[in-house]
């Protein structure tokens, strides 16, 4: 049972890290939209491309990290 508690603890910390990165690209960066604009259209870039690319990478990264956690505790489906 303690193995399960430890597994869930690690899963929760991964969730928090994921949500912090997510919140940065979803909300925080766009608060500074007007300061990102210079000779390069930074606000347009972040809302139209940067945030999306970050989300794609974040989702794949999350999936592989969570999978490693499951394997570490012998909780993955292949075990």
């Amino acid at each position: 049972m303690s193995k399960q508690i430890e597994h869930w603890g690690k899963t929760k910390s991964l969730l928090w890290i994921t949500l912090i990165i997510w919140a940065f690209f979803a909300f925080i960066i766009h608060l500074f939209g007007s300061s990102l604009n210079g000779s390069f259209p930074g606000a347009y870039y972040m809302a139209g491309q940067g945030a999306q690319l970050a989300f794609v990478i974040l989702t794949f990264w999350f999936a592989s990290r969570q999978n490693k956690i499951d394997e570490e505790f012998g909780f993955s489906e292949d075990d």
């Binding site: 399960q4 597994h7 869930w8 899963t11 991964l14 969730l15 994921t18 949500l19 997510w22 690209f25 979803a26 909300f27 766009h30 608060l31 939209g33 007007s34 300061s35 990102l36 604009n37 000779s39 390069f40 259209p41 606000a43 347009y44 870039y45 809302a47 139209g48 491309q49 945030a51 999306q52 690319l53 989300f55 794609v56 974040l58 989702t59 794949f60 999350f62 999936a63 969570q66 999978n67 499951d70 505790f73 012998g74 909780f75 993955s76 489906e77 075990d79």
Partner: protein, 611 residues
């Protein structure tokens, strides 16, 4: 009769590879026909007829009488293909037809939709989808009903699902009607019913199995149709090979032109606007991120509502019930997002290059600054004026078309771009087929979500638990037929715009379902009374607020308008759910063990494979 066999899964790459090449071959054949002098109307008909027939064929070949095949496609869909199917399921008429137009007309604030409709998938992957996959449910109310116990939570979830999905599906059927009526030159009402017939063919006989394989086919058509015109324009205008990199120079050029043409100073006169009705002139800059607190708040609330809505819309979540494992479900979310981004990263480029084609005086296709007589003789201006999608109003009477005298509907940015940029008609036919694929694939998923919830959760689990499989599947199909017809009927009344209805659906879903779903996995203490209070309270208050703002004449609080009413519903749902859960008894041991079981991928699903 022929039917897709078990070896179909192992030869997916071959099947869809041949399909993609076949479709490209068909496009080339149409181009040859166009050069040979075949009329535009016939090419439009061929595009629509050919693609819809293929989808219907896949739908018929995938027919099944097994409940696990009907409800969750046998749980054997590979992660990448499920990603493609989810992308088609997700990207609706609003994404395909309305988004680029919204960016064109409303500029930076509208790009909140782009952020919200992608970032929501991070929540789907991390908070909800893999756990629901482990749970082994057929539908979203199936999870709510089993996790919280009893019929009341199940019925509440069914009601929210039906309201949210039905609002959404009328917008999609409306979208199929719009595209079909334009491409086939038939009345809108007829287009709606033809679209519905295609949708039902795809889903009725094979349920989720059929919808999965048609959605993959529809994704391939819609993404080809969306990308080709943008690549073409980027190269034609001389900005570079890849529009996604080339668009930033184009943005700077548009900003230069905004100054020259007076985009933000020259506003339409009241008389001109009255004459143009609901059509809009360009009034905002392409990249004006405002630093005011209100602008930031509006961006923030829109993004948050769309994200939480993504993570609670049943037709999206149920796609992840079809993967072979929990691990595959997680990866599949990544693939979905990647396939979605192929289109979403292209939408701003499309809006920007279209703007350039119309505004830049050094480009041959530009219209601003030319004489009104000259512009009104252009073929595409005439065609789209005839159907009321655009209007030229000479406000100052100088005979020259200024930026504040060109009124349009946002939808034409995608639908008319090939004509605006002077591309051959075959591209217009392709875009129509793509728009139809986008609207049909989403409508399929939504109708199935509604019919499955009613047949599985309401009929089988609540009304007649002894019904055998074949009876349940017959009920599911009859419901599909009725709901489809009801959707088409409401769509033909044209009550709301496509985008308004879509944003409402997201807020209905997040007000009622977001916290019951998330806390059901992440908070063991959440119990039946809390979930019921959260669902009824969040959904009810959200509904009331929408009604008051939209029809009751109430001034929105802090800029929270009808697009964002989840900002009211969600906090109510969270607070009620937490407070009521804490005030009542904690869930029994059995329920707590169930939550433990879904938190690890290993082991048996909570619900049996055939339940």
């Amino acid at each position: 009769m022929l039917r897709l066999g078990d070896n179909f899964i192992t030869s997916l790459n071959k099947v869809y590879g041949i399909y993609t090449l076949g479709f490209l071959g068909f496009v080339i054949l149409m181009a040859i026909l166009e050069v040979a002098g075949v009329s535009n109307t016939i090419i439009g008909w061929l595009f629509v007829a050919f693609t819809v027939l293929i989808y219907a064929l896949i739908g018929v070949l995938s027919r099944t009488m097994q409940s696990s095949q009907y409800y969750v496609a046998g749980r054997e869909v590979p992660a990448v293909y499920n990603g493609m199917a989810t992308a088609a399921d997700w990207m609706s008429g609003a994404s395909f037809i309305a988004m680029a137009g919204g960016i064109y007309l409303q500029g930076y604030p509208y790009m909140g939709f782009l952020v919200g409709w992608t970032g929501g998938y991070v929540l789907v992957a991390s908070l909800i989808a893999p756990y629901l996959r482990k749970f082994g449910c057929y539908t979203v109310p199936d999870f709510i009903g089993t996790r919280y116990g009893g019929n009341l939570p199940r019925v509440c979830a069914v009601i929210i699902l039906v309201v949210a999905s039905f609002t959404y599906v009328t917008a999609q059927i409306n979208g199929t009607g719009t595209v079909a009526s334009r491409a086939l030159q038939i009345p809108f009402e007829v287009g709606v019913w033809i679209g519905l017939a295609g949708i039902l063919f795809c889903s009725m006989l094979g349920g989720m199995r059929a919808v999965t394989w048609t959605q993959v086919a529809q994704y391939i058509v819609l993404i080809i149709a969306y990308l080709i015109p943008v690549f073409w324009m980027s190269n034609k205008l001389g900005y570079g090979l890849i529009p996604h990199f080339a668009q930033f120079d184009a943005v700077s050029r548009v900003q230069e032109l905004e100054g020259l043409l007076g985009v933000k100073e020259l506003l339409p006169t009241a008389e001109a606007q009255a004459e143009a009705g609901k059509l809009a002139a360009l009034k905002v800059g392409i990249n004006d991120a405002s630093a005011t607190a209100m602008a930031n708040w509006k961006f923030f609330t829109l993004v948050l509502c769309m994200m939480a809505g993504t993570a609670s819309l049943p037709h999206v979540l149920m796609r992840y019930f079809t993967t072979a494992s929990v691990k595959a479900a997680r990866q599949s979310v990544g693939w979905s997002l990647l396939f979605i981004c192929l289109l979403y990263l292209t939408a701003p480029a499309l809006a920007t290059f279209t703007k350039l084609s119309l505004l830049d005086p050094t480009v041959a296709t530009s219209i601003i600054g030319k004489s009104i007589t000259e512009v009104s003789n252009i073929e595409w201006i005439q065609q789209w004026s005839n159907v009321g999608f655009l209007k030229l109003v000479d406000g100052n009477g100088d005979g020259i078309l200024q930026i504040n005298e060109f009124f349009m509907r946002g939808d034409i940015v995608v639908l008319a771009t090939p004509e605006m940029a002077g591309l051959p008609y075959v591209i217009s036919g392709l875009v129509a087929a793509g728009g139809l694929a986008a609207a049909m694939s989403t409508a399929d998923g939504l109708l199935l979500a509604i019919a499955n919830a009613l047949s599985h959760d309401l009929y089988y689990k609540v009304i007649d638990p002894k019904a055998d499989t074949s009876r349940r599947l017959v009920v599911a199909r009859v419901l599909l037929l009725f709901i489809g017809a009801a959707g088409a009927f409401v769509a033909s009344l044209k009550l709301t715009s496509i985008l308004g209805a879509v944003a409402w659906a997201f807020c209905f879903a997040n007000s009622g379902l977001f916290f019951p779903l998330v806390l059901g996995v992440w908070w063991k203490r959440a119990n039946k009374a809390g979930a019921v209070a959260g669902m009824i309270g969040g959904f009810g208050v959200g509904f009331w607020y929408l009604y008051m703002v939209q029809f009751g004449g109430m001034t929105p609080w802090y800029g929270i308008d009808g697009l964002r009413f989840g900002m009211i519903g969600m906090p109510v749902s969270l607070i009620l759910m937490v407070v009521v859960s804490l005030m009542t008894e904690e869930p029994d041991k059995e329920t707590q063990d169930m939550v433990d079981a879904i938190r690890v991928p290993k082991g048996k699903a909570v619900l049996a494979a055939d339940h």
